[in-house]
C-alpha cells in the first residue's frame, strides 16, 4: 500500500497538524515505510478467536459524577492566560474569522 502526498495532507488535517511544504516529501517516505512495516500483520492468519485484551482491572468503573477534590497548588486564575468571573477565557469559535 502506498500513501501519497494528498493522503498525508488529509490525515494531517484530521490530526489538526500543519505540515510544512519542505517536510512533506520526507514525511510521505517515512509514513510509507512505517505503514509497510506494520502491515506485516496481514500475513498472520486470522484465527478469529482472540478476544480483545486490555490489562488492568477487569472492569474499570466510572466514579461518581460529583466534583472531586484535586488539591491545586495555585488558584485557577493563575492556570490560564485569561480568567474572569470564574471562567477560563478561550478563543470563541468563529471569533477570529470576524477579525
Amino acid at each position: 500500500m502506498s500513501i501519497g502526498r494528498d493522503e498525508v495532507l488529509h490525515v494531517a488535517r484530521l490530526a489538526e497538524l500543519a505540515v510544512r511544504d519542505e517536510d512533506l516529501n520526507r514525511l510521505v517516505d517515512q509514513l510509507n515505510r512505517i505503514v509497510d512495516y506494520v502491515a506485516q500483520l496481514d500475513r498472520v492468519p486470522a484465527d478469529g478467536a482472540a478476544d480483545l485484551f486490555l490489562p488492568g482491572p477487569r472492569q474499570v468503573e466510572l466514579r461518581e459524577d460529583v466534583p472531586g477534590s484535586v488539591p491545586l497548588a495555585r488558584p485557577p486564575a493563575e492556570l490560564s492566560p485569561e480568567f474572569a468571573d470564574g471562567f477560563f477565557l478561550v478563543p470563541r469559535h468563529g471569533a477570529m474569522e470576524d477579525l
Partner: protein, 461 residues
C-alpha cells in the same frame, strides 16, 4: 548523612553532570533541593529517608516545570503533583531533578528531545536509550541512586540495559498514573531505575498501591520490598526461543550465556519455551501506541495547553494546526499521523482491529507459558548494546526495532526488569526477567539473587 548534606552533595553532582555535557536534566535548582531537605528534616523517617530521586519530565510536579521535553509545554507548571511524587515524598524521598527524555516519551534513544540529546554516560558518541534516557544516565553516572521513568513500550528497561543500571516496569495497574502525562493509556506505567535491585524495589514499593485518582490502579495493597532469595532453587525459568535469534549481537549472546550459567548454579531449572507471536510485538505496538497517542495528544492545541500560534486564515482550526505543527517535534508528528491514519475511516479494521487481535494473542502466549509451570522468563533486554547517536534517527523502523525484546511485555501488561549482566566492548548488556501478572515481588527477589553473582561490570568473552 543529614538531609541538608545529601541535598548539597546531590547538587554538586548535578553541577558536575551538567559540566560534562550529559544533558540529562531539564530542571533542577539547589534552592529546590534545599527546600526538599528542610521538608524531610521536619518529618524524619520513612523508608526512603533523604534519598534523592530524579523524575522524568512527563511526571508532573508543582514546584518545577513539566515539559515532556517538548516546545509545546515549554514553561508549563502543573497545578498538582503526581500521586507517585506525593507518595515518594511521604516516604522521605527528596525530588532532585526533572530529567530529559524523548519528546512525549516517543523514542528509543533520547535524541528526540526539543532540548538536545542525552549522552551515554560511558561513551558520549552513543545514546543512553530511551525514552527515559535522562533518568537512566543520571543513575548510571552516580548522580542519584534512583530515578523515575515511564514505560509505554520498554522506555525504562531498554535505557537501563544500555546504561548498565536496574530498570523495573511493574505490573500494569500497580502504580498510579495520576499526574503522568498520557501517551498510550492502555500501556503507560511509571517505572523505576536503581543502582541495585534493592534501591529500585524500595522506590517501587513506596509508590505502589491503589489510588482513587487513577481508576486503572488495582485494588491491592502497596508492595512490600521482597527479601532477596539466597538462591534460585525451585524456580523454573523459561528461555523463549524467539528472544535468542541467530543474529543476536555476539557480546549480548555471550553475556546471556553467562547469566544462564549463573542461574543454573544458583539452582534454577532452565527450560526452553516458545512465545510464537512475540515477533509481531513491534508492528502491533506501533499501531496501538500511536493510535492512543493521537487521541491523548489532541489536548495540546493552543487552547487547553500550549503557547498559541495563529495560523494562516486566522480561524480556530488554523490556530490548532499552527500551534501543533510548531510545537511538536518530528517523531511526535510522525506518530500522531500514523495513529490518525490507522484509526481513519476505511483503515480502522485493517490496522487497529488487527493489532488489537494480535495483542490478545501475544498476551495469551505469556499466559499459556506461565500456566504451564514456568515461574519466570529470561531474555536479553536489547538485541545490541547502545548504538551510536544519529545511527537510526532517519530510519524510524530501524529505531523501533531497538525495542524488539521489550514491547511484547508492555502489550501484555506484565512486570519485567532489566538487570546489568556484563559488558561488551566496554558497553553494558542487560538481561530481562519477566514475571506473571502481579508477581513483581517474585521477579525482584530472583533478580537480587542473580545480581549478587553476575559480574555486571566485567567484560564478557
Amino acid at each position: 548523612m543529614s538531609a541538608p548534606a545529601v541535598a548539597a552533595a546531590t547538587g554538586a553532582r548535578l553541577v558536575a553532570a551538567e559540566a560534562s555535557s550529559l544533558n540529562a536534566t531539564l530542571h533542577w535548582s539547589q534552592a529546590l533541593l534545599d527546600a526538599e531537605a528542610r521538608r524531610v528534616e521536619a518529618s524524619p523517617g520513612g523508608p526512603l529517608h533523604a534519598v534523592p530521586v530524579a523524575i522524568k519530565d512527563n511526571i508532573v510536579t508543582t514546584d518545577a516545570p513539566t515539559t515532556c521535553a517538548s516546545r509545546i509545554l515549554e514553561g508549563y507548571v502543573s497545578p498538582y503533583d503526581a500521586t507517585a511524587v506525593t507518595r515518594l515524598r511521604s516516604a522521605g524521598a527528596m525530588i532532585a531533578a526533572k530529567t530529559n527524555m524523548d519528546e512525549f516519551a516517543m523514542g528509543s534513544s533520547t535524541e528526540h528531545s526539543a532540548f538536545g540529546r542525552v549522552q551515554h554516560p560511558l561513551d558520549p558518541s552513543r545514546v543512553p536509550g530511551g525514552s527515559s534516557g535522562g533518568s537512566a544516565a543520571l543513575v548510571a553516572a552516580g548522580v542519584v541512586p534512583a530515578a523515575l521513568g515511564s514505560e509505554t513500550g520498554g522506555s525504562v528497561r531498554q535505557p537501563a540495559s544500555f546504561c548498565g543500571v536496574v530498570g523495573v516496569k511493574p505490573s500494569y495497574g500497580r502504580v498510579s498514573r495520576f499526574g503522568l502525562v498520557a501517551f498510550g493509556s492502555s500501556l503507560d506505567c511509571i517505572s523505576v531505575f536503581g543502582r541495585t535491585v534493592d534501591d529500585a524495589s524500595k522506590v517501587l514499593a513506596a509508590m505502589s498501591g491503589h489510588d482513587p485518582l487513577d481508576r486503572t490502579t488495582l485494588e491491592r495493597p502497596a508492595m512490600v520490598p521482597p527479601a532477596p532469595r539466597r538462591d534460585l532453587s525451585g524456580l523454573r525459568i523459561g528461555l523463549p526461543r524467539e528472544y535468542f535469534p541467530a543474529d543476536l549481537h555476539p557480546g549480548v549472546a555471550a553475556a546471556m550465556e553467562r547469566t544462564k550459567t549463573a542461574a543454573r548454579e544458583l539452582g534454577a531449572e532452565l527450560v526452553d519455551v516458545s512465545l510464537p507471536n512475540s515477533p509481531y510485538a513491534v508492528p502491533t505496538y506501533y499501531i496501538v501506541a500511536p493510535a492512543e497517542a493521537a487521541a491523548n495528544l489532541a489536548r495540546f492545541d493552543g487552547v487547553r495547553y500550549g503557547p498559541r500560534k495563529v495560523g494562516p486564515g486566522g480561524d480556530i482550526r488554523a490556530l490548532y494546526q499552527a500551534t501543533r505543527g510548531h510545537g511538536f517535534g518530528p517523531e511526535v508528528q510522525r506518530r500522531i499521523l500514523v495513529g490518525t491514519y490507522v484509526l481513519s475511516a476505511g483503515y480502522y479494521d485493517a490496522y487497529y482491529g488487527k493489532a488489537q487481535r494480535m495483542r490478545a494473542r501475544i498476551a495469551e502466549d505469556f499466559r499459556r507459558v506461565f500456566a504451564g509451570g514456568v515461574d519466570l522468563l529470561l531474555t536479553p533486554t536489547t538485541p545490541t548494546p547502545a548504538f551510536r547517536a544519529g545511527e537510526k534517527t532517519e530510519d524510524p523502523v530501524s529505531m523501533y526495532l531497538a525495542d524488539i525484546f521489550v514491547c511484547a511485555i508492555s502489550l501484555a501488561g506484565l512486570p519485567a526488569l532489566s538487570l546489568p549482566v556484563g559488558r561488551t566492548e566496554g558497553l553494558p548488556v542487560g538481561a530481562q526477567l519477566i514475571a506473571p501478572l502481579l508477581e513483581d515481588e517474585r521477579m525482584l527477589a530472583a533478580a537480587a539473587a542473580l545480581e549478587r553473582v553476575v559480574a555486571a561490570e566485567a567484560e564478557v568473552r
